[in-house]
Symmetry: C2
Subunit: 81 residues, 2 copies
């Protein structure tokens, strides 16, 4: 069994309005050491073991989990029992 | 400068309807090796260096970034130049 952890974030060229709003909220709470906040999505996908997993994860990320125009992703594959 | 990476996921006792929908979509795309999908949120927070960062990050997660009734979080702190 393989666990794939996918992190989707906005491209740096895209304004992260949610992140800015959260930063502002954190500062309002009194934590003024925060200098930057960004918000993204996190997916965990479990797969049976098979050979072309990397290739399929790339396709799933490109076609379904991200909007390639504004988002970028990275993932890691962890072996699970 | 410290980079804090926060991962927010639903508690296992809570139905992950988005995850189920994504799993179904992935299977419809023809990738039938997928057995489970869950969806969460991912935050990156940058802080100036100071002493009680851990404590503040816990408070920010509990009070702002998560709904403690249904969500759980973990984070890691990375040193940045």
């Amino acid at each position: 069994m393989k666990l794939v952890k996918v992190y989707v974030t906005l491209k740096t060229s895209v304004l992260d309005a949610q992140g800015e709003a959260i930063k502002s909220a954190i500062q309002t709470m009194g934590y003024d050491h925060v200098s930057q906040v960004s918000m993204g999505k996190y997916f965990e996908l479990r797969f049976d073991d098979y050979s072309q997993l990397d290739q399929d994860v790339d396709a799933i990320c490109d076609e379904l989990l991200t909007n390639p125009n504004i988002e970028t992703y990275r993932y890691e594959i962890v072996e699970e029992k």
